[in-house]
């Protein structure tokens, strides 16, 4: 138990961040909630429309549902890089000793490069006319049939705008997972190896169960970040061509600042907030069932 004096000190230190959080996070969310019940172009008087915006969003806006579906693909691609690839790399990293620091730094590098630079770089990497890196590589190995303008082709654009986001933070999550992996007690692994376990079994039956809590926390971070992904898709294609790479975030942005329909844009933002809450709840649910099982 803390003494009264200490408790006061804790409260004093906690209040400012809490106030800031209420002002900068909870406040705007509540305001959006209010704004989503109005029709407003920013200049004319606000007109109360009740749940009309929600009705329009859920029942008569085909772009909304398309964008929601795209969001799930975007999430899947990002998570593939940020969880699966990152975990694989982190695991491999534990087997090398020379140059490990260099590898870590190189993989972490994209996380600190500015988003605009990443977008410009990928625009060139995906380009066909003039020939970009991916298409040049495909041509060099004789896979000319696969060459295409990845950001203009309706079948490839969504994955193409999702991959940079995943690639960008894969190194960061790799580091977190690597830190968890080196904390796995060596005795457990050695005992398993003495009993003749393969490296794969060491990974699936000892290492992964051991780092599971860290992995799930990483999953929450990666999932919430990806659900709100905006910058790279916005800079690369702005949701195009057509709506082929439209995400809820880019759609919301355009509704607000291009169409100046702030009420409906707020409705969309309320949905994004709900989506994030649901995703976190789902992952926490998985964590709880895992804990109960063990």
């Amino acid at each position: 138990m803390l003494r009264t004096k200490q408790r006061t000190a804790v409260v004093v230190f906690l209040l400012p961040p809490l106030g800031l959080y209420l002002l900068a996070v909870v406040g705007p969310i509540l305001y959006s909630l209010v704004l989503s019940l109005f029709e407003w172009d920013g200049l004319s008087d606000m007109r109360f429309v009740g749940l009309d915006n929600y009705r329009q969003m859920l029942f008569s806006d085909d772009i909304f549902w398309t964008a929601t579906g795209h969001g799930l693909v975007y999430l899947a691609v990002s998570l593939f890089f940020q969880l699966v690839v990152a975990l694989m790399l982190a695991n491999l990293l534990t087997y090398i000793s020379r140059g490990r620091e260099l590898v870590k730094t190189v993989y972490l590098l994209p996380a600190i490069v500015s988003t605009v630079a990443i977008a410009l770089m990928f625009r060139r990497i995906y380009s066909l006319e003039p020939l970009g890196l991916v298409n040049a590589a495909l041509g060099a190995v004789g896979l000319d049939v696969l060459q295409r303008p990845f950001l203009s082709d309706l079948d490839t654009v969504l994955v193409a705008v999702s991959a940079p986001e995943g690639w960008r933070f894969a190194g960061l999550y790799m580091l977190i997972l690597y830190a968890a992996l080196i904390a796995v007690p060596k005795e457990l692994e050695e005992a398993a190896r003495l009993d003749g376990a393969s490296e794969w079994r060491v990974f699936t039956q000892i290492r992964f169960p051991y780092i599971r809590p860290v992995f799930l926390t990483t999953a929450i971070m990666a999932a919430t970040y990806s659900l709100r992904g905006f910058d790279i898709p916005y800079l690369l294609t702005n949701g195009g061509p057509g709506h082929a790479s439209e995400l809820l975030t880019t759609y919301m942005y355009k509704t607000a600042f291009t169409n100046t329909d702030f009420g409906y844009a707020s409705t969309l933002s309320v949905f994004i907030v709900l989506q994030c809450i649901v995703a976190v709840a789902l992952i926490l649910g998985v964590r709880r069932t895992g804990r109960d099982a063990s």
């Binding site: 705007p28 959006s32 920013g42 066909l128 061509p241 942005y253 600042f257 291009t258």
Partner: protein
């Protein structure tokens, strides 16, 4: 949570500002503003290149003005990236926090601001200063709202041409297209010669939208788009249909680069200046680049042709897209004797100083100085600008309501890529315009 939070914060700012209410604007009649000049800091929110000639000229003029008026300073806040600029501009407008000067096109949003009484009547101002006749009519027309109201000042004057590479045309054995349909026909031979026919900045979407405006402008004149945006004309009628079919044909003929939808402004320009593309549609604001030193592939090979015509055209060959750039409005809320005096000084000084930098003034009272080392192309363009007709093909993106415009731009890319047919394009756009027309 960065972006959501940011967007939500913006939403909150907007909500807060709503509580202030729309409120009445200030004094829109400049003649009623009189009194003593009290120097202070004046702000100008603008969307022009930071190293461009307009800003350089304005800064120079402001420095001179400040010498005579101690305490005066001009704070230029520039956001050249247009979408970011519009976001800033709209947020400030909704919060009633627009600065003394702000840049805007004659868009429906700007029209709402004017109707709210937020802008000073620029026509009245120019008239009171006896300067109205100095301006090129086309430069002023570009800034006018539909009812003829003039509330934005032009600071540029540029015509849009089709620049082409004579060496590549020769190599492919093609002639300068006389009609819009001829433009489609030159693409095949150019492709066969291993050249990208037309460089296109698809990322920004307005360049492709220009192409859509050409057929209607030739077939039905400048009023078509004005009727279209009000729902008085339909895009499914002949002018619109011809335009959509033409865009589809351009796409099918391989006129645009593969993957043009993600090509940016400078990438498209580089495609042309490095001799990889044969044609490039852009305004004379790129003249310093195109008439200046170029790579060996394009050195001495750049020429231009103006908007080709069509059979049964109602507009003349010398009528095409002529723009006077984004305009500058004066906020009526802060329009005081100082701002009035300063803007008068700017208007007096600007044309000559701007023209001295080799740029085209929106007025006719000065002559443009040819920059040192500029190619003969420069003189040709100067002569062309003195020979303009009196109609201009207004860019559609400044005309249509924003929702229809966004949808149209998105579908237009798909049309040029051949993902949808002209019929599908027309149906979608027609429905969207009907829903959103004023």
């Amino acid at each position: 949570m960065k972006h959501t939070r940011w967007a939500l914060a913006a939403a909150m700012a907007l909500a807060l500002s709503a509580c202030n209410g729309a409120g009445a604007g200030g004094e829109t009649d400049p003649s009623k503003v009189t009194g003593e000049i009290e120097p202070r800091e004046v702000s100008w929110l603008l969307s022009r290149p930071a190293d461009g000639a307009v800003i350089a000229t304005i800064e120079e003029i402001a420095a001179d003005y400040a010498e005579e008026h101690p305490g005066f300073s001009l704070n230029l806040i520039t956001t050249p990236d247009r979408p970011s600029y519009l976001q800033k501009f709209e947020t400030l407008a909704t919060a009633n926090k627009l600065p003394d000067f702000f840049d805007t096109d004659a868009t429906p949003f700007a029209d709402k601001l004017r109707q709210r009484g937020d802008m000073v009547d620029v026509e009245a101002l120019l008239e009171s200063l006896d300067m109205l006749d100095d301006y090129r009519p086309l430069a002023l027309d570009y800034q006018r709202f539909d009812d003829g109201g003039l509330f934005m000042l032009p600071f540029e004057f540029e015509a849009e041409f089709f620049w082409y590479n004579t060496k590549l045309f020769e190599k492919a054995g093609v002639e300068v297209p006389a009609t819009l349909d001829d433009l489609v026909d030159v693409c095949g031979p150019l492709r066969d010669a291993g050249v990208v026919p037309i460089a296109l900045d698809g990322q920004d979407q307005w360049p492709l939208e220009r192409y859509l405006s050409y057929y209607p402008f030739r077939l039905a004149g400048p009023d078509y788009v004005k009727e279209l945006k009000k729902g008085e004309a339909s895009i499914t009628e002949e002018p619109g249909r011809a335009a959509a079919e033409w865009i589809y044909e351009l796409g099918q003929a391989g006129c645009f680069p593969e993957g043009f939808s993600s090509t940016g402004y400078t990438d498209a320009r580089d495609l042309f200046t490095t001799g990889k593309a044969a044609i490039y549609q852009i305004g004379t604001w790129e003249l310093p680049t195109l008439a200046g030193p170029l790579p060996p592939e394009t050195e001495g090979a750049v020429d231009y042709f103006t908007l080709p015509t069509v059979d049964g055209a109602v507009t003349d060959d010398n009528d095409y897209t002529v723009v006077s750039g984004i305009g500058t409005a004066l906020s009526s809320r802060t329009f005081d004797p100082l701002v009035k005096d300063f803007v008068t000084y700017v208007l007096q000084e600007y044309p000559e100083r701007y023209a001295a930098q080799g740029r085209f003034s929106p007025t006719t009272n000065v002559e443009t100085t040819k920059p040192e080392g500029a190619s003969p192309l420069y003189d040709k363009v100067v002569a062309e600008l003195d020979n303009l007709g009196d109609e201009t093909a207004m860019p559609w993106d400044t005309q249509l309501d924003p929702t229809s415009n966004t949808r149209l731009q998105q579908e237009l890319t798909l049309l040029a890529q051949g993902e949808i047919t002209a019929e599908e394009f027309l149906t979608i756009v027609d429905e969207t315009i009907k829903e959103n027309a004023e």
